[in-house]
Amino acid sequence: MKAPDFLYVRPDTLQEALAILADDEAMPLAGGQSLMPMMNFRLAAPETIVDLNAIDDLRGINVADGIVTIGAMTRYAELAQSDEIATHAPLIRLALPHIAHAAIRNRGTIGGSIALADPAAEMPAVMLALGATVEVEGANGKRRVAADDFFLGLYETALEDAELITAISIPQREPDDRFGFYELARRHGDYAMAGVAIAIPAQGAAKIAFFGNADRAIRATGAELALSSGISDAAVQSALDSLDALPFDGDLNAESGTKRHLAGVVLKRALKGLG
């Protein structure tokens, strides 16, 4: 189908966009790779579309003082081509090929995915594993939200009305940090049936986040604890057993028992591929 009618504005500045979004019925349009299908299906019918694609300040990758900052409107394809991401944020690099298809990655943005909070999407789990900070701005000013406090439920985030994600920031990779990512989907590029993002820093505790199993990406604290002092066979078994504590909601692809099984499969494979 075609999208229902709407009004369209394309502001050049963040301030202009925030002012328009203060109108209740306005929705921001980032890469459009989720909102446009939802409008075409008539699942979304915003009165006004605020196109963020002309706001250059929301785009780009910056590495400084041990922090990698990525503008919300940075496209997946730009992340994939970035040496800075490959070097300083390798977990993002590992996840990118699993996100939809090449033509989608040419338009889709990291901020768009995080704001949508699809439970089967890769980026929310990657943000949890990296301990990311989501930088948010609205009419009442700026605030910073930890990824752990950002994803609240099915397509539900800590974003208030008329707030936008401006950037995400993550700690720059330390030399001995290790990362893993694995995802199972019916066909390449489909939404994940089960997936996991793992960060095992040289210093500090491991972070492990699953996606595709519940209403949102979710930390597996039991598995993190089990793997906190090395990845022995016994530790891996203990991590696998700990997954019983996670929620597994059945969907069209698989019932909950299958999801529970697949979570173990992706964890084992991601740990084997740690780099």
Binding site: K2, D5, F6, R10, G32, M36, A77, H101, A102, G189
Partner: protein
């Protein structure tokens, strides 16, 4: 009331100006307003890949971008992509390898394959399949499509 907006963009090398309803997606504009019916409209939600066109040097879904968003852009449709160079070679290889039957997916498939070839992609069947995974073909089973892409890569530039 339907909002319309004036846009001007370059399509297949020609400057085009038009007044479009803001809700019109790019592929409908190309087909309906400009008569460039080579790009096809399949699923209209970004899954099938039949509407793939090039905008400012990258292949995108024509159904997931609004025509107004192409303001100032350089757009190339299959009518412009397959007339010469690697696009032409791919088109010939698709024909030689029977990489199409009904032809509905072919313009999008060629566009995605062209992006792969022009990015320096190698003749690795798994990598090619991954790159065209967003283009559905219900006739060929993809084998012949991958054959054709491999042929073009193996022959090299200008062969």
């Amino acid at each position: 009331m339907t909002q319309t907006q004036a846009i001007s963009l370059t399509v297949n090398g020609e400057l085009v100006s038009a007044n479009v309803p803001v809700r019109r997606n790019l592929v409908d504009f190309l087909r309906g307003d400009l008569g460039l019916t080579g790009s096809h409209v399949g699923c209209e939600h970004g899954v099938c890949g039949a509407c793939t066109v090039e905008v400012d040097g990258t292949m995108i879904r024509g159904c997931l971008m609004l025509a107004v968003q192409a303001q100032g852009s350089v757009v190339t449709t299959i009518e412009g992509l397959a007339e010469n160079g690697r696009g032409q070679e791919l088109r010939d290889a698709f024909e030689a390898r029977n990489a199409l039957q009904c032809g509905f997916c072919t313009p999008g498939m060629l566009a995605s394959a062209l992006e792969y070839v022009e990015a320096g992609g190698v003749a690795d069947r798994a990598a090619i399949r991954e790159h065209i995974s967003g283009n559905y073909c219900r006739c060929t089973g993809y084998q012949a499509v991958v054959d054709a892409v491999c042929d073009v890569i193996e022959k090299g530039v200008g062969a």
